[in-house]
Amino acid sequence: MSDRDVRDALLAVRVPGELEAQRRGWTVVREAYATRDPVPRHGRRLRLVVAFAVLAALVAAALSPPGRSVGGWIRDRVAGEEATEPALVRLPSAGRLLVVSEQGPWIVRHDGSKRLLGNYEDASFSPNALYVVATQGRRVVAVTPEGDVRWTVTRPTPVSDARWAPSPGYRVAYREGETLRVVVGNGTGDRLLAADVAPVPPAWLPAEGRTVLAYADTRGRIRVVDADSGKQLWSADPGATPEQVVWSANAGLLLVVTAGRRHPLYRADGRPAGRGLETAQGQDVLDAAFAPRTREIAYSVYDAESGRSSIVVGGERIQQGEGRLEDVVFSPNGRWLVTGWPEADQLLFIRLPGVSGYVVVPDVRREFDPGGVGATEFPRIVGWCCS
């Protein structure tokens, strides 16, 4: 058998999906090229000097008491029963993760493989994760998990915070400046829903077939509207500037995370539901979510004085960390919670209830930045769907 026989045999192998893969690949790579930040040639020497200085600073930081403290804490907390894998190996529970890095949104499949969907700034899942709705500049884009663009809406000014309505997913809401707009789930019928809207992502009531949307206005009020009729169902004053609006999975409760110490809780009809959350002076709620199938609130809170974060689930502090634990995202079955930990450059999957296990994924910046040096912004985890 000659070398040529082997070569001919290998070149004759049918490679499935070649053209589609090339088309999708080109879409993503072209956008990465179009938005790259070229390095001027005369700046390269300077860059080397800066890189050396940064490296030296990092080494010094790692050897300093605070650096050792972080490292020691990780070892203390993670060593033993928890497994640290060398890479994002596999999600510990069913579904797909949606992670947004500087390069754009990534779908992380259950087996740990991942794909960049394009150069978008923000993204969220459609109800069954059949699509991702993303924004980039003036565009709202619906894209498949393989990266194929299904539709695009282009507006005159920048858009953000696109969110898909619950099943059957007939509506998508997004913000354009201080307006809130709604488009049909196939990309048609784009229209204005509300003006004077605050820079807070809107939240759909998670009830099948309903198109009820909660949002914050520029005066700090929470408004709940029927997105089809435009009729306001109720409104409330949370007492401090709203930063996040979260429905419980059973659609029974609405939590409003504010910039203040009180974070009120409302029933679906607008009546207050107990005292809500209260945090101490100097503490910021970084992210909040309801556990699936329960009314338990989970949140991450950062204490500016200590420089530490805690994750609290159902009133119990289950995790602490130096720096910020950025996200609170549940697995679809509610048995795992994942948070991003920029200081440790890790994703931390915590098994619930209590803390019955961990999966720790290191080198997260590098993982979501192919070809980079790991110095980019830490990615955000924006969804885990669906079982």
């Binding site: 058998m1 070569r7 192998v13 690949g25 990465a32 179009a34 529970s93 740990g112 098994r351 070809g371």
Partner: protein
């Protein structure tokens, strides 16, 4: 070598200077072989697409640091093949992790080998080799590098490359012979 030569160097310089059409020419010249090479190592179409896409994204990130006097192909192929090896190893690791207690709710389709069935005897024979052996075969016979070049790309002794090629040829011999009969 695909895309080698003066045209390619001009495309690289153009892409570095911001020419989208030159960058597209580079992409179109190199994607098919990069994707095929990745597929023959990972044996999974979605995995090959991820590997090829990430290799090109890495190339975009490093484009300004690239010396345009050097050929682009070997640089890209080295990234592709190394990522493909990593991907395949990670998949094996995923299977091992799947047996651990920390993992729950693994769907039925996640328990088996996610690779698409490969009826072709040649590919089946290739699949019987380790990812490192497959990578050497792909570099030699699909991307057409010499054993010396492969040794440098994979940072292996040349003797190791030769022995891997020999073993791979033994495995492939039977399947190609069967096809010819």
């Amino acid at each position: 070598m695909a895309g080698a030569g003066r045209d390619e160097r001009a495309w690289v310089r153009g892409a570095q200077a911001g020419s989208a059409s030159d960058f597209e020419a580079l992409f179109r010249a190199h994607w098919p072989r990069a994707y095929r090479a990745a597929y023959l190592v990972v044996h999974d179409a979605a995995g090959a697409e991820d590997v090829a896409q990430e290799a090109f994204l890495a190339a975009v990130r490093a484009l300004d640091r690239f010396d345009s006097r050097r050929p682009f192909g070997p640089w890209l192929h080295r990234i592709v093949v190394n990522r493909a090896i990593d991907w395949t190893r990670a998949r094996s690791l995923r299977r091992e992790v799947g047996a651990g207690e920390a993992i729950d709710d693994v769907p039925a389709e996640g328990r088996g080998d996610p690779a698409i069935p490969l009826p072709d005897d040649v590919v089946s024979a290739l699949a019987s080799l380790s990812p490192d052996h497959r990578a050497v075969v792909v570099l030699r016979y699909v991307l057409e590098y010499t054993p010396g070049e492969i040794a440098r790309m994979l940072e292996l002794p040349r003797g190791t490359v030769n022995s891997r090629l020999r073993r791979a040829l033994d495995a492939l011999q039977g399947s190609i012979g069967r096809e010819e009969r």
